[in-house]
Subunit: 335 residues, 2 copies
DNA sequence: ATGAAAGCGCTAACAC
DNA sequence: GTGTTAGCGCTTTCAT
């Protein structure tokens, strides 16, 4: 691999001039610069990033921490970050905590060393730890908000409120919520939104969990749901709701006739599940690009006031929810 | 951030001794070592990886290139790599080509600078390019094999052979194959396996494509499939097959009565699709860990002969394939 | 406009 | 067993 010295020798200039020519900034004779760039290309010179990092303290990398790369909720977020990073010619480090909050501090610490900024996706760190890390390295939170730290999240409380309101309108007075991972922060927001809405609406809400935020997690909960006798269930995410939906139908339960089911995220494509899943749609995929751009801004100016964005979500009603049976019959009787 | 100098000063030794104490290797007075380690911890010292990388040429990172992080086929592979990397205290760089082969060279070049080894997942680079890169940095290929380069792949040809054989036994004599991305190498192997099997079995095989390897890609192909009049379809992957299956059923086509559908990968969970998808199961998720371990071995000893592993796959017959209707009626008539 | 030289934090001879 | 020192490849004053 050619070094800056090789280029300098070949172009007949000093290494300082090579550095200047390549990095644009300082003033260099245009002719000299042209020659340097030419020979650099001829030698297929690539600046050693470690050396540059050592000299400048800027590594040109962003670090991403998430609970599970193979969770379809996170994939698009990572893809968004990757895209922005590539455009800005940043490298992307990835660490996967495998849903184990206890390894996060170590992973973050290790990441921090090789990156200029951090993007923590659905981190389960304590607020204080987040602040500590954010102090060391510019940090953006995804799907989690902490005072004083940049972040973008879906307004899960509002979404759940909309969802429960919808169910209440359909006559559901006793609803079950299948919670996700215990440590999930978005889970907290969801529970908060649900309980507040339940109080307001006079709905009897029961929370069950934790459950793995997966298709299998939803299926495993089916028996419990059926036994609960509730007329409507809300899942922590679409995957849980989907698994539940398929399993209860196999058990002969009519959806939405006997049981209304709703999810969260709108992560399923049209046609993946029948009947279509009522859910809360949020542009979760866009959180990746938003976070990356926030980080870029922060990197450019550390003194900026903390920014945070709460993405509004919208209720999407599909076939998996409907009026409670008695209501429906009553309506039929009246009609 | 504390440096090695701070630790040295605090512990009353030279920086060399600190380095030795922390890196284990050389002989250091146990008592001294203990003291150094203690003060290092007290100062929360973390060696600067860029500096170490500069000095040793070893970065302690692996680089991963793939076509699309959000494709569920790749997620588990990345997760496997991430896990092994974490155990070995390696960092993981990720680059996403977004299914665009033309950006791969640039991405690999950039990755190479910050990693000790490369894992190229489903790379669409030319064989020669792969060899060139592999020469610069230890490289392991995933789901792609190139002579002289370490790699692990699923034996797609064999899998497709098994699948077509199964269909032929069910009486299908005219089969359609929905191909995936044009540049996909595993796609080549699949086509090769299919055409060879078709010749041997006397099956009339038509290849259509390319198609996006997604659920939506499968749905988009539905009309074309129905119009083709074929009695059986094989999808490039389960996602395509799944999308197709849901769409044709919406169109009123009986599966497998009227149309048999099969996929590849066995990536869908039990219950996600009805009827269950006949497919080829391969431990694709394990390719991640296998690749990471291969890379580890290669990193430890560059002189090792190239290793390559071809994972056998197995046919999984579920409800989406069945005998052609005429055969079935004939059987009924006889029985 | 360009060159010389001092580091960035660490490792690895090489001395003692 | 421990200290000294010369780099690793680059950026960045400071001279000129």
């Amino acid at each position: 691999m050619a070094t800056i010295h090789d280029v300098a020798r070949e172009a007949g200039v000093s290494i300082a001039t090579v550095s200047r020519s390549l990095n644009g900034a300082a003033r260099v004779n245009p002719e000299t610069r042209r020659r340097v760039i030419e020979t650099a290309e001829a030698l297929n010179f690539r600046p050693n990033l470690a050396a540059r990092g050592l000299a400048t303290g800027k590594l040109g990398n962003v670090g991403v921490l998430l609970p599970d790369v193979s969770n379809p909720f996170f994939g698009p977020i990572v893809a968004g970050i990757a895209q922005v990073a590539q455009e800005r010619r940043f490298g992307m480090f990835l660490a996967d905590s495998r849903e184990d909050p206890s390894v996060e501090p170590e992973l973050v610490a290790r990441l921090s060393q090789q990156v200029d900024g951090l993007i923590l996706i659905a981190s389960r760190l304590e607020d204080d730890d987040v602040r500590v890390f954010a102090q060391r390295r510019p940090t953006v939170l995804v799907n989690r908000l902490v005072d004083g730290v940049d972040g973008v999240a879906i307004d899960a409380a509002q979404g759940m409120d909309d969802l429960l309101t919808h169910l209440a309108r359909m006559g559901h007075t006793s609803v079950l919520y299948l919670d996700g991972p215990a440590a999930s922060r978005s889970g907290r927001a969801k529970r908060a939104g649900l309980t507040a809405a339940a109080d307001r609406l006079g709905v009897d809400l029961r929370i069950a969990g934790p459950h793995a935020p997966t298709f299998a997690g939803g299926r495993a909960a089916a028996q419990k749901v059926v036994d609960s006798g509730r007329t409507a269930v809300i899942g922590f995410d679409d995957l849980i709701a989907w698994g539940l939906l398929t399993r209860v139908r196999e058990m002969g339960v009519d959806v939405p006739g006997r049981l209304s089911i709703a999810g969260f995220d709108d992560s399923l494509d049209e046609g993946m599940v029948t009947p279509g899943l009522t859910t809360i749609a949020a542009r979760s995929g866009s959180m990746g690009t938003i976070a990356a751009e926030m980080l870029e801004r922060r990197l450019a100016d550390v003194t900026l006031p903390p920014a945070s964005e709460l993405l509004r979500s919208t209720l999407v009603v599909r076939g998996s929810t409907g009026p409670v049976e008695s209501t429906r019959e009553a309506a039929r009787a009246i009609g």
